[in-house]
Symmetry: D2
Subunit: 389 residues, 4 copies
């Protein structure tokens, strides 16, 4: 019998959306997932037009996510969607995810997980109870060299970690773009849809997640300075945060949306007692290794040299020198998600190692980070502790 | 009525192949093309196993390309494949393409086009006669910044072109890899499957194609030094070629497979009377512009700044700073190919502008280049002319 | 009559010293300054051996700086030293400078200016009263592209400044180097010779000075986290500081001596409402300009293009592409210092514009910064104000 | 008794000259050499004005080099110049050097050595006969990382050398600059002063010298394409040369003065059977090492890591991360020259190892290269052999 692709629906991501298109490309890249249905917009006409663009039959394009979940549930098991990608603005993540889980669908959801930490915690409880697969697309963890970095840190090659510098400068919100109706800017700067923070919520959490993903350390307390530089804007567009990690490591996390002409310059440097690493998202196939007594090394994706870890190799599709980019990294999360869903569909136990993607727990941590940073920003005390999770 | 995806078959690209997997990812990235059948290997068992890996139903996986073309032709028009991707070693390109065209299938074929120039010319004649779409995957032309470079040169901003330096160093064949049974090395170094040249045929043609694509100039004569550095190898693994272009421009083309630790470092520099450009495949989202009296400029993919040409914008999917790579560039050829096939399927005239990919004519030029370089390499005369085409 | 070079003495900088040799190379590079005497070490034998290395006659090499100042004063005016370079550990800067000024010698002194802020203020008062020239070698301000950056910011091209990110990672103190007797590490980590801070005093002040030099803004308050990562060390070896500037700009200043394999990676990024700049000390001949709607520009030292400011051109000696480095930048301070001393020797008024180097006032600011950061580091309050100066 | 500095005279290098000022900075950087006299221009008034600029007493500034040599010879040995720097246009190198040697002065001379190969050979014979020190300022050999590269190649770490790619693109002669009276362009493009070639003579020889210096290999035959792109120019402004080395290595040498906005981008890549190296003059403190099975390594000047060779360490003055540039590299030749002259002055034998700079023999090879390339450029035969030397 022919193996079947994983059938996926989508909520959000209609015409003009950025991240919805990314999710679709990432999902389809490896040919394991098939988009079978969608509720692409709160506007039914737009949803239908978007579905047609995507070659979907009209009867699998829905006017609302609630309708989609209800009607898909009624389709025979071997045809209905098995999972759903949630690519809406932040405030809708939890309501949609909750309903999907309640209808028995596995979920892959964009970040940040929720609108508030409280909401996030409730969702996490629901996921645990449901036994369903839940992936959160902190997509930068999908890069091969991020995985290599994690292996290097965790293997102890760098010794005990002392310092982490994570930065994420962007410049696209250096003027009041939301006043022009630009869709991406519009919802990200709107407290009703984005949540308590723009800059920290949208990109600061990526930096936070990356720092914890690579080092395995946990942020213990923060000291934050948030700023809204652009007049008329309702949320922060720049944030600088001093970090203290459990175990004694220190750090700096800097995120900015007003750093003109910086594009998507997420970067991380980690220094231990024995060595350091450095990685830049805009040059993602390179990882720098730093040693006190040996020349700096340039590690590269692609398997030809024989030095990469299995974790990095698993995440690289092409020989060295054939640039793999943002979509490929994103697709690595989808590939692992699809494998986990396939196991679940087959009725097999899904081992922890198969959850090779950020989970709802990472999402809860991200929400805790956002709330703690916002709290710190208005505090006169230097340090604000992260809540117990 | 629901729009349908373009249905595609594949010849070659079974388990262990590199370029076949690339073609599939490129074809599927944008969700416009559906792989419906294949003859993935000359070994029927391997073909079937490969088809199963790809979620194809058993009855659409064939034991041979001849069988595939015959049987697909018999399937109703709205289900059978419309086009075929040819991803075999070089010597099979023409036989497969010829049969595909004779059965009325559009073709997208890996490069170099043929085994010999003569064969290439015959195929070009057949394509012209057939009225079918034929694309050749000189994939580096799919990068947004290559397209931007072409627009800049053609707009005259650089003035009359004086000098072109194209280089393509790789290091993966620095030892006798073919003796280990490594599949990629095996056929590329075998005169019976690769043709008259390894290094020039496999990668030198990419550099030649890129130089002509960007500048619109044509190579008039060459002076080549080909070398086989690795003992026991049957074909060249390094080539240096002086170039003279029609109109007076000069150039250097350097290709190498023994440049240890150089990965896939295709790069091109073009200098005119008023300015210059520089592009590196391994950092593909950047294009350098050089001026005599102004600071050097760094152009970047992604549309936010407002300075990119329509041709570049059409080839970029993500905002600036979100790296697009090899697969995305490759997918740009597939996207244009799919659009042209869709027009043809709809019975519409396919305008020249829609053939936004390298064609069979580029393939003939590539074969002429290979043969002329090989001829020059054994000549004592400095210059060897390219044949009239 | 033949013009004469400026005659200079030196205090400190004996065999094995780093910065003394740099000062001598910088002073001599342009052939305007002649080293005529010195008290190179507190150890008279070492002082004499060092003087002989430097081709000085024995009677101009002194056992102590006090002896030097007294005896040089007794030499006829057209032979005695006119100025003195102070290149001792920090705690000696003020005593030596004070005595030099009291003997009528112009002074060029390494940074930080003093051991304490109080001491620095007293010295500044003495300088003002003396009417003598006093230069402080915050040498990074001597780079052509730092001067270009200042011109660009001050011309208003970037608009109102919003954010400044200054960082200075080094890795050379990642282990307890001072325990090996290494001279540089020994005094820099000793509170009795270095002062209240190692990392902030030695390199953090350079970053602070650079930020204020380029932008003209003044730090208003700081929030600091200082750490001593290496066990057994007596002073900080890492510091992260949030900054608030007068007028509303925000910033981050990061200095580290435990960032393994980072060498001397001072870098600064400045973002305004209209554009930004970025400069890296290790690639000093390049300045990046960032715009919201135009390609990023790469400015380069060397005058051939016609776009550099007069201030930058004055500081560059070679055509573009001929790397100018650390010594040349340092020499730019010496060149301006020599010109000012020549004016003063000729009995002319020295206009403010001729003081084209950091002055004693910059030194006072640096000491205030060090003390404020140290104070902030032990405070539980988020923000600590800089003192009025 | 006080050690004395080496006393040096200079021929050429008057006001407005580029390379003369470089020689003076390089000579003075380390404080071992003292400029005591000069004949700075064929125009006596200009010579005197230049001497005054340089703080020289009027009686040591001469109207002609012949006068200088004659009158300096008459000065007591412990005051007269010991050596002379020749920084004139090419056609004067040999006449001046010849006369200097005949008067018993050691010589340091800019490149290329001579106007013709024949002249160069005669000069070499004279040098050998004289027993005097003769240095040729192929200054790029003075960079620490070039010396490290040589050590690496010669130690056999790269295995047998297969391929050398040396390039030297500049853009400053992309228009007819000589028509504006620009002094540098004027003589370099004048066959009467520059010799048989502009581009190959001025910069191509640097690339040739660097290739042979690093690898120890000798060019056996060349295949050249020289072009004069700028209308009205009398000599070549661009050259591309295929190289064959004794022992079987192949190479490409590309030099250009019309590559707009390329500054002084001399670069070399050397590939052997076991590894490769890459060095760029514009980023001179970095050397890349390439391996087939290990990560690429970044070697850096400055001695802190413990991995550099003694030869490289000897040529580096500063800790890692403190950029050393063009002048420092140039000064390394002067430092070695001064040491050799000091030995000779002291009546000691100067061992071969002390001649740690390019010699008259390198100059003869350079002239042979220029003449062979010019000959090849007008030949219809592919290969032209280098003459026996």
């Amino acid at each position: 019998m022919t193996k079947r692709k994983i059938r996926m629906g989508m909520v959000g991501g209609g015409r003009g959306a950025f991240i919805g298109a990314v999710h679709r490309m990432a999902a389809q890249l490896d040919g394991q997932i098939e988009l079978v249905c969608g509720a692409f917009s709160a506007d039914p006409a737009k949803s239908r037009a978007s579905g047609a663009d995507l070659f979907l039959p009209g009867d699998r394009v829905y006017d609302s996510y609630a309708e989609m979940f209800a009607r898909e549930q009624a389709i025979p098991a071997d045809e209905r969607m098995a999972c759903v990608a949630i690519v809406t603005p932040n405030h809708m993540h939890v309501p949609v995810a909750k309903l999907a889980l309640e209808h028995g669908f596995h979920v892959i959801c964009d970040k940040p997980l929720a609108f508030t930490l409280q909401e996030a915690r409730a969702l996490a409880a629901l996921v645990r109870k449901s036994g369903l697969i839940f992936a959160l697309t902190h997509n930068y963890t999908g890069y091969p060299m991020v995985r290599e970095a994690r292996e290097i840190v965790r293997s102890g090659q760098l010794g005990k970690i002392r310092k982490i510098v994570a930065e994420y400068p962007q410049g696209w919100l250096a003027s009041l773009l939301e006043s022009t109706g630009q869709k991406q800017a519009d919802w990200r700067t709107d407290p009703k849809r984005a949540g308590a923070s723009c800059c920290i919520g949208d990109i600061g959490t990526h930096a936070e997640n990356l720092a914890e993903y690579i080092t395995g350390l946990r942020i213990e307390s923060v000291c934050a300075d948030l700023t809204t530089f652009v007049k008329g804007r309702k949320l922060d567009d720049d944030g600088s945060v001093l970090l203290r990690f459990t175990g004694g490591a220190r750090g700096i996390l800097s995120a900015s949306q007003i750093s003109i002409n910086d594009e998507n310059a997420l970067a991380i440097r980690v220094y231990g007692e024995k060595g350091g690493i450095e990685w830049h998202q805009e040059e993602p196939n390179t990882l720098l290794l730093k040693w006190p007594d040996r020349p700096r090394q340039i590690l590269r994706t692609g398997g030809g040299y024989g030095y990469l870890s299995a974790a990095a190799l698993k995440a690289t599709r092409l020989p060295a020198g054939h640039p793999e980019g943002y979509i490929e990294a994103f697709a690595n999360l989808y590939r692992s998600f699809a494998s986990a869903v396939a196991l679940a569909q087959a009725g097999k136990r899904v081992p922890a190692a198969a959850l090779d993607f950020p989970t709802v727990e990472d999402g809860v941590r991200g929400m805790a980070f956002i709330e703690t940073v916002v709290k710190s920003a208005i505090s006169k005390q230097k340090w604000t502790k992260m809540p117990a999770l």
